[in-house]
C-alpha cells in the first residue's frame, strides 16, 4: 500500500493500474488468469503451437516404426527406411516440435506475463515463415531426395543433399528472429513500464532459454554452413573432429534450451495447477544463471572418447563446469516440488510426510504431466546424464543405446511431457476451446509417461550390454564375422519396443484430443475455462 498526493487530500492507492502499450482492440483480459493477452502475440502462439503439433505427429509416426524395428521380434523396416525414418524422427522431434513450442512459449512469457504488446509483428511473421519453410525443406530432403540418410547429426564426411542443411539453417534463422522479437518485447515492456519491479520468474527462465538459444544457433551456423557449402561442392570437406565439437555445441546445447524452457514451464504449471509459490526466487533465478554460464559445456561429453583433443581438455570441460550446471538442476529439483508442497500444505493437506503428495490434483493432466515430467527428468534423465558424462563410464556407454535411453528420459519424458501439460492450459486459455473426453485427457500423461519410462529403461539396460544405438540389426545379418547379444539384451530390446508402442498410443491420444479441441472443442467465451 502506498499513497500519492493529489491536491491536498491524500488518496490511498493500491497497486497502480499498469500501463498498457497495446494498439486499441489488440488486448483482452484472460477470464481465467486475469492476465492481459496481446491478440497479435496470441495469433503467433497459436500458429507456432499448431506447427509444433504437426511436426510432432510426423516424428511420432517415425518413432513408432523405428521402435518396432529395434524390437528384434518385430524388426519391421528395411535398413534404408530404418535410417531414413530415424533421421526424420530426430529432426522432427528434437528440433521442429520442440522449437516451435519454445518460440510460442517465448511470445507468451514476454507479452502476457509482462502485460505488453509483441514488439514486432513483421519479425514474428518472418520468423514463422522461415521456420516453417525450413522444416518443410529438410523433411522434403529426407523423404524425397534419397540423399539425406545421414541421421540427425549428419557427421561429416557423411554427405547429405544441400536442401537438408539449407532447411535446418533457414529454420535456425527463423528461430533466431523469434528470439530477437522476444528480446525486443522485453525491451519495450521495460521502456513503456508495463510492469513494476523485476520480471516474473517464468519470464526470467524464458530469458535464460533465449540466451542459450542464441549461443546454440551460432554453433549450429558454425557447424552447418561449411557442411552446406561442401555439399554444394564449393568448399573442402570440414574436419571430422572439428565438426563434432561444433555440432555438439548445437546438438547438446539445444537440449539445454529445452531444459531451461521446461523448468520455466514447471514453474508456470506449478502456479496455475496448485498455486505454488517458490520459497526463494533468488535461488531459482540463480539456478537459471548457472544454466546460462555452464550448461554449454555439456556438449563436451560427446567428445569423451574422441581423438583430436587430449585428456586434460576432456576432464576440464566435463568436470568442474558441468557440475555447476548439475547444481542448477539439483536446485530446481528441490525448489519446484518444495513450492508445490508448501502450496498443498497451505490448503490443509498436512497429514504425515507425504500427505500433500497423495492429495495433489493427480486428475488434472496439467499437474500430472508436470509432476511426472519432474520425476522422469530428475530421477532417470538427470542421473543417467551425469553418469554418462563421466569419463570412465563414457567408455562403456558411448554410442550404445544407453545414450538414447538417457535423452528419451530428459527430452521426451521431461520436456515433451511438460509441454503436453502446458497444452492442457494453452488450448483453453489461448485457443479458448475446451478439451473433449476429459477422462481420456486425465489418463494421457500416465500413458505417455509410463511408455517413455519403459522405453528409456529398455534402451538403457540394452545399452549396458553394449547394444549400439542407430543400428538396424543386432543379429548382424550378413556380417563377415558373426556377432550378437544374449537373451538379456534381447529382453531389454523387447521392453524398448513395448514402451515405444505404449508411448506412441499416449502421444496419439494427446494429438487427437488437442486437434479435436482446437478445431471442434466447446468455445470459451466470457467465462473462465472449466477447471481440470
Amino acid at each position: 500500500m502506498s499513497t500519492i498526493t493529489v491536491g491536498a487530500a491524500p488518496v490511498p492507492v493500491d497497486t497502480p493500474a499498469p500501463k498498457r502499450n497495446h494498439a486499441p482492440g489488440q488486448v483482452r483480459i484472460c477470464d481465467t488468469t486475469g492476465l492481459p493477452v496481446c491478440t497479435v502475440a496470441e495469433r503467433f502462439i497459436r500458429l507456432n503451437a499448431v506447427a509444433a503439433v504437426v511436426f510432432l505427429l510426423v516424428g511420432a509416426i517415425c518413432a513408432l516404426l523405428v521402435a518396432l524395428t529395434r524390437w528384434p521380434a518385430v524388426h519391421l523396416l528395411d535398413p534404408v527406411w530404418y535410417y531414413r525414418l530415424l533421421t526424420a524422427h530426430g529432426l522432427n522431434m528434437l528440433i521442429f516440435w520442440i522449437i516451435f513450442m519454445e518460440i510460442g512459449i517465448l511470445y507468451f512469457a514476454s507479452t502476457s506475463l509482462l502485460g505488453t504488446r509483441l514488439a514486432s509483428k513483421g519479425l514474428a511473421i518472418a520468423s514463422f515463415a522461415l521456420m516453417a519453410v525450413g522444416a518443410l525443406v529438410t523433411n522434403w530432403a529426407v523423404f524425397f531426395t534419397q540423399q539425406a540418410d545421414v541421421l540427425m547429426t549428419s557427421y561429416v564426411p557423411l554427405r547429405a543433399h544441400p536442401a537438408f542443411y539449407a532447411g535446418i539453417l533457414a529454420f535456425a534463422v527463423g528461430a533466431l528472429l523469434g528470439v530477437i522479437d522476444f528480446f525486443a518485447t522485453l525491451y519495450i515492456a521495460k521502456r513503456d513500464k508495463t510492469y513494476e519491479g523485476s520480471v516474473p520468474l517464468v519470464t526470467f527462465g524464458a530469458t535464460a532459454a533465449a540466451i542459450i538459444a542464441v549461443v546454440t544457433i551460432l554453433h549450429g551456423a558454425i557447424a552447418l554452413i561449411p557442411a552446406f557449402t561442401w555439399s554444394l561442392g564449393l568448399t573442402e570437406v570440414p574436419d571430422a573432429g572439428w565438426y563434432r565439437i561444433m555440432w555438439w555445441g548445437l546438438g547438446h546445447q539445444s537440449q539445454q534450451i529445452n531444459v531451461t524452457a521446461m523448468v520455466s514451464v514447471w514453474y508456470f504449471l506449478g502456479t496455475v495447477t496448485v498455486g505454488a509459490k517458490p520459497l526463494n526466487q533468488a535461488v531459482c533465478r540463480g539456478a537459471f544463471v548457472l544454466y546460462i554460464l555452464f550448461i554449454n559445456l555439456a556438449s563436451a561429453h560427446h567428445i569423451l572418447v574422441d581423438p583430436g583433443v587430449g585428456a586434460g581438455w576432456k576432464i576440464w570441460n566435463t568436470s568442474y563446469a558441468m557440475y555447476l550446471a548439475v547444481l542448477a538442476s539439483l536446485i530446481h529439483g528441490f525448489t519446484v516440488p518444495a513450492s508445490v508442497e508448501v502450496a498443498l500444505r497451505k490448503k490443509g493437506h498436512t497429514k504425515g510426510l507425504f500427505g500433500w503428495l497423495a492429495k495433489a490434483p493427480w486428475r488434472n493432466p496439467g499437474f500430472s504431466a508436470f509432476f511426472l515430467s519432474l520425476l522422469i527428468f530428475g530421477f532417470i534423465g538427470g542421473i543417467t546424464g551425469v553418469t554418462l558424462g563421466t569419463q570412465q563410464i563414457n567408455i562403456i556407454a558411448h554410442n550404445t543405446l544407453r545414450i538414447p535411453g538417457h535423452f528419451h528420459a530428459t527430452v521426451v519424458g521431461g520436456t515433451s511431457l511438460a509441454f503436453m501439460g502446458l497444452a492442457y492450459y494453452v488450448v483453453p486459455l489461448i485457443f479458448r476451446r475446451e478439451y473433449p473426453l476429459r477422462w481420456l485427457a486425465r489418463l494421457q500423461p500416465y500413458l505417455f509417461g509410463g511408455g517413455i519410462l519403459l522405453l528409456s529403461m529398455g534402451m538403457s539396460f540394452a545399452g549396458s550390454y553394449g547394444v549400439p544405438r542407430r543400428h538396424w540389426d543386432v543379429e548382424f545379418t550378413g556380417a563377415q564375422f558373426s556377432a550378437g547379444f544374449d537373451a538379456g539384451a534381447h529382453l531389454m530390446l523387447g521392453v524398448l519396443g513395448v514402451g515405444g508402442v505404449v508411448a506412441f498410443i499416449g502421444l496419439l491420444v494427446f494429438i487427437l484430443l488437442t486437434v479435436w479441441a482446437v478445431f471442434l472443442g466447446k468455445r470459451i467465451v466470457n467465462r473462465p475455462m472449466t477447471p481440470w
Binding site: A311, K314, L324, T390, A483
Partner: protein, 174 residues
Amino acid sequence: MSIHAPEAGWLRAPSGGERLWIGLALAWCVILSLAMPYWHFKGKQNSTGESYRVTATAFMERVNRFIAAYKVGEEKGVAVVEPPPGSDVYLQASMWRWYPILKLKEGQSYRIHVSSMDLQHGFSLLPMNMNFQVLPGYDHVLTVTPTSKGEFTIVCNEFCGIGHHAMTGKILVD
C-alpha cells in the same frame, strides 16, 4: 507466484532446508568434479587422448607394412596378424569392415592405432563393451593391455551407411 512480478525484497539469501540442500548439492558436485580426474590417473582406464593427423593413404600404407611384417594366417580371406608385445598395432576402419584380425597376448601392452579410411566409425569391442570414436584424418592411439583370453568381436556403433550393421572384425587374445 511465478507468473507475476516478485514481491519487493525477493533478493535474499536462501535459508532453512533450502540452504541445507544447496550446501549438500554443492558438496556432492565438488566431490564428483574431483573424482573424475582422480580416477583418470588412479584407475588408468582412460585413453590419454593421444592422436595424430594422418591421411587415409598414409595410414593404409602403415597397415599394409604392419600386415606384411607380422601376418600369421588368414581367416575368411582376412589377414590374421600377431605383432610382438609392446609394438605399434594398426587397425583400419572402412565401410564396412575392421581390418586386419589382431592376435594379442594376455597381459602384454600394445599401442593400437585406429583410423578411418572414409566415414566416421565407432569402435565397439564386444562382449567387453568398450567404445571409441574413429575419425578419418585422425590416428587415435589406444594403449591397451588385454586382461582376459578369448575371441572378441569389434562391431561398428557409429552410423556409416547402409552396410553399417554388418561391419564387424575380430581380436583374438591368448
